[in-house]
Amino acid sequence: MSSIETTTAVRKTALNAVHRQLGAKMVEFNGWDMPVEYSGIIAEHMAVRTGAGIFDVSHMGDIRLHGPDALAAVEHISMNDASRLAVGQAQYSALLYPQGTFVDDVIVHRLGEREYLLVINAGTREKDFSWVRDNTRQFHCEVENLSDDFTQIAIQGPKAVNLMEKLTDGDLSSVKFYWFTRGTICGLQDILIARTGYTGEDGFEIYIPSDPLTSAQVWKEVLEAGREFGALPCGLGARNTLRLEARLPLYGHEIFDTINVWEAGLDRFCKMEKPEFIGKPALEQARAAGIKRALVGIQMVERGIARDSYRVLDSAKREVGYVTSGSYAPFLKQNIGLVYVPPELSEIGTELLVEIRGQGVKAKVVPTPFYKKPKKTSATADRVENPSR
């Protein structure tokens, strides 16, 4: 199991003791002591695909921007177009370096007329906050690091809405995917309830005060409410396999400070028609020059599991790329992966080899996302604005 060495003290979410009481297997992830699994990754993964799963994602960071120039500041530092957001709406986006490569990917929420919340990755909290603060100094806008203020709980799966409606007073079925509302949860008022997630399913993420008592109480009530839907507490193991099946990128894997937007295939979240944003000139040049590698999905044809950083070879056994994420996919029951390869090897059906313990094991390029949630018949879940295409 991979763990990341760090010289600083391991950080804990407000729910750390609760996870340990539940018997979770804990691992270090990006400097955080986090549950990797409770009952088992496969069971947790299937709970999210068929019912509901509950995740502590409090390690994620939060940056609030507010003031007269808040929109201009967000537009300058992010690649998607925040001017399209209504109050109560969110969008997938990214912070870019001037080279057009990734500082991090983020979800931008428009909290108010002049107020935005960026939800960022755990391992990049300090870097992101400094980046946002330093690059918005010219704007009349305050930048606050709220990362330690929230316990963030994700409730994911086809039954997530039913579970959530037991805990809230509001009507959540009218909240569309990638929109949010404020409501009462477990007696706590004015809680941010966002219909977002990182699993390829419908679901919600709630942001509650981070004191351990409140956090533990809400966690318990969510688990209780989920019992009738077969909801399970889920760890980072299932979070990773779920997001991989849905082809959602992970910072440090599919996106990184050496990878640009076109390579990562996130074109539709990058609005080049915006007059200006950090990274735009470099991306114009990169688009004109053409990409040297592209992110594609593979499925193993022969026996073997592609793992992160394994080498990818062409059929003549020349090294042509590498695996960014690879795993057994519990819902699909296949061995899948995401790989960077030259564009000429990115066509669906292209045969590739993954080097596993010195052997070239056959794989082929397949369409992504590997998994797509079944279409809802209701009119409320129409437009899906997440990076899983």
Partner: protein, 126 residues
């Protein structure tokens, strides 16, 4: 979970039965989690004590398998190719392969069930 006294154990968490059957311990399957793949050599392959002979993979992790003793592979448990989860449900019954031992004296260097249980309790710090 008890550790059969007739088995011998390694610090890399394999067991070997007197008949030459080799598997991984319950402690190993628990720390790996859901096992989804086992990579084993073919019948006739030579194993060398202390050297890797294959690997076992869970959803999350890849773990090398180390030969407890030297010998020649005589049989492979083909059931594990399609049902690797048997290792999770019955670690001490789900043998991976059988070998003909080169030197039964090598067994003396391995841990007894009691030694192994002491070893893992030290490793987990409990």
């Amino acid at each position: 979970m008890s550790y059969p006294v007739e088995y011998k154990y390694t610090k890399e968490h394999e067991w070997i039965k007197p008949d030459g059957a080799i598997g991984i311990t319950n402690y190993a399957q628990e720390s790996l989690g859901d096992i989804v793949f086992v990579d084993l050599p073919k019948v006739g392959a030579e194993l060398t004590a202390g050297k890797t002979f294959g690997s076992v993979e869970s959803v999350k992790a890849v773990s090398d398998l180390y030969a407890p003793v030297s010998g020649t592979v005589t049989e492979i448990n083909s059931e594990l190719a399609t049902a690797p989860e048997k290792i999770n449900t019955d670690a001490h019954g789900a043998w991976m392969l059988k070998i003909r031992l080169k030197d039964t004296g090598e067994l003396k260097a391995l841990l007894s069930a009691a030694d192994y249980e002491r070893f893992i309790s030290e490793e987990t710090g409990s």
